[in-house]
Symmetry: C2
Subunit: 334 residues, 2 copies
């Protein structure tokens, strides 16, 4: 392990991403990425009595699928890192309470998936663990209910708003395996530019993504062109545009190889999701479903995965607070 | 770093706990531990307009005090690990948003302080960081409002209930220094014994504390008598009694050297706090205020610090769910 530059850690023995899994809900099943997920569920309740219980089931079943797909058993997983958007991260703790693996609860809002992978990779890279599990989830209905309005009200959504992805993504990191490897992590700082519009998360989080992006390049000496793909999740259409422009003003041209998981998840023309997808499950499922396979098939060889989070709640917004953003990055190479 | 037994990590280069700080509220100022804290605040709002903003101020000022007391500057702290009880951990993210240190949000309910120290110690012990900061907080008023009833209602509290500590505790872990050292960590599993009474957290969390306690002894080959003190936080009076009994049935006698931070914080006779203190700030302030000084002064040489958390929220309780518990342990030696 080597701390390089300001914020980056470089692995001498890079952990392998051994396997991933992803399960999504009905709206995601109609989107352009549907074929990449392990399973698409047609019922938002998934047979449960509440959306919260359904979200826990997404986590539980995704992790169960992941362990089945991997070559290792649950007993060989040393630690688990998980979190989600629900108050006190209940999707993760209820979804994983029967797992019987030491558990670290993580909260980074929509940055949780990459935050978990940062922490997990340090455990594996340092020899503290052989295998760790990273998991996250979100659910459109439980998130709307908690953060915005009762769904029954049928409130209008402004054009800047994003659509919380229903789904769960999970990954096993391992000390053995032939890649793709996590070679560097660049954990991010909290960046608050004073944006207060809780219906424009992309704008609130883009400055944090910019800060982590530039720090990663400075710390590693790499340029945007080093990567086959630079992927954020989930700035959405508006945040993606802001980040592209901000990066250009700082001398980094990311136009040709940059995309965002919130942009990729839904069809902008037909799915009525305004600025795109969001939620911990957005980057969680798209990385696990799509990008991991691209790396495994060597269609991509180097990606920079940056998850962004808005560290607010409905009370802080009601009390007039601005929205602090954060972004964590990992460099994944084959 | 060596993974020993089932769940424990032993440090080849144990991180030093370089410095700690603690600030508490008015009720804690009247309790038996008051003299050990850096500061006692007489106003629960601390001049802010809401309890949530006040709690953020507790975190901010505690971290500021900590950095002033330590021999290092904020720029020399590589990463920060923090979390709290408020929805989406806003006390930590708002309290630390100006800190300009890469930030990992952590959620382990009342186990958050030790969870942060587990994660931080792996970063330091592996050479990924030289210095890290671990912080947590809780606030009686913001917690009651969020988890139970509006304070204005003046609801009665059952005898099994605990009193959320108003306060923040924080520590700097460092690769250099002369101890006290974190020599082992034993992160815990989620344990759910089906207890549903949200007014009896001690009972819900005691089985998790037992599981981690026994696992720690088995993994390390140590016995209870190895430690000058075994400290949980925060099982309270009822949970402490349950853990003592449960441990005895498993062949571990901890009667002579075991105590709980929820028991230590308030005077049972005069302060009307029923089963004792609770909240992330309970073990956070008592370790930072009292036990750290005992270790520094060599009045204690070996302690096992076990923080317990109840991984539920008010929605899960309303939906009839039981309360999953968790407990993380660290062994601290001089």
């Amino acid at each position: 392990m080597e701390h390089i530059g300001m914020q980056t850690i470089k692995f001498e023995k890079p952990p392998t991403i051994l396997e991933t899994a992803s399960i999504v809900g009905p709206k995601e099943a109609q989107g352009p990425m549907a074929k990449y997920f392990d399973q698409c569920i047609e019922d938002e309740f998934w047979g449960e009595k509440s959306w919260e219980k359904a979200e826990s089931k997404f986590v539980k079943e995704t992790v169960s699928t992941l362990i089945s797909k991997s070559s290792i058993s649950a007993q060989d997983i040393d630690y688990c890192f998980a979190g989600d958007l629900l108050n006190q991260c209940i999707s993760s703790s209820f979804g994983l309470r029967e797992l019987n693996i030491p558990f670290f609860g993580v909260f980074g809002a929509c940055s949780t998936f990459v935050e978990s992978m940062c922490l997990g990779s340090i455990f594996v890279g340092s020899g503290s663990a052989k295998n760790v599990l990273c998991a996250t989830s979100s659910h459109f209905c439980s998130a709307e209910k908690q953060f915005r309005f009762p769904l029954e009200l049928g409130n209008q959504r402004p054009p800047t708003s994003q659509w919380t992805v229903t789904g769960s993504g999970a990954a096993i990191l391992s000390s053995s395996g032939e890649g793709p490897y996590i070679t560097h992590i660049t954990p991010g700082k909290i960046i608050d530019m004073g944006i207060k519009d809780a219906n424009n998360m992309g704008a609130a989080m883009a400055p944090a993504a910019l800060d982590t992006l530039i720090t990663h390049f400075k710390d590693t000496g790499r340029k945007p062109s080093y990567y086959d793909a630079i992927i954020t999740g989930d700035l959405g259409h508006i945040g993606k545009e802001i980040l592209t422009e901000l990066a250009e003003t700082k001398g980094y041209n990311i136009k040709s190889n940059y995309n965002d998981c919130g942009v990729l998840m839904f069809d902008k023309e037909t799915q009525d999701t305004h600025s795109g997808g969001s939620g911990c499950g957005c980057i969680g499922t798209i990385f696990s479903g799509y990008f991991f396979k691209q790396l495994k098939d060597r269609k991509m060889k180097r990606i920079l995965l940056i998850a962004t989070g808005a560290l607010m709640n409905s009370t802080s917004t009601q009390q007039g607070e601005s929205i602090p953003g954060i972004a964590h990055a990992i460099s994944i190479e084959v």
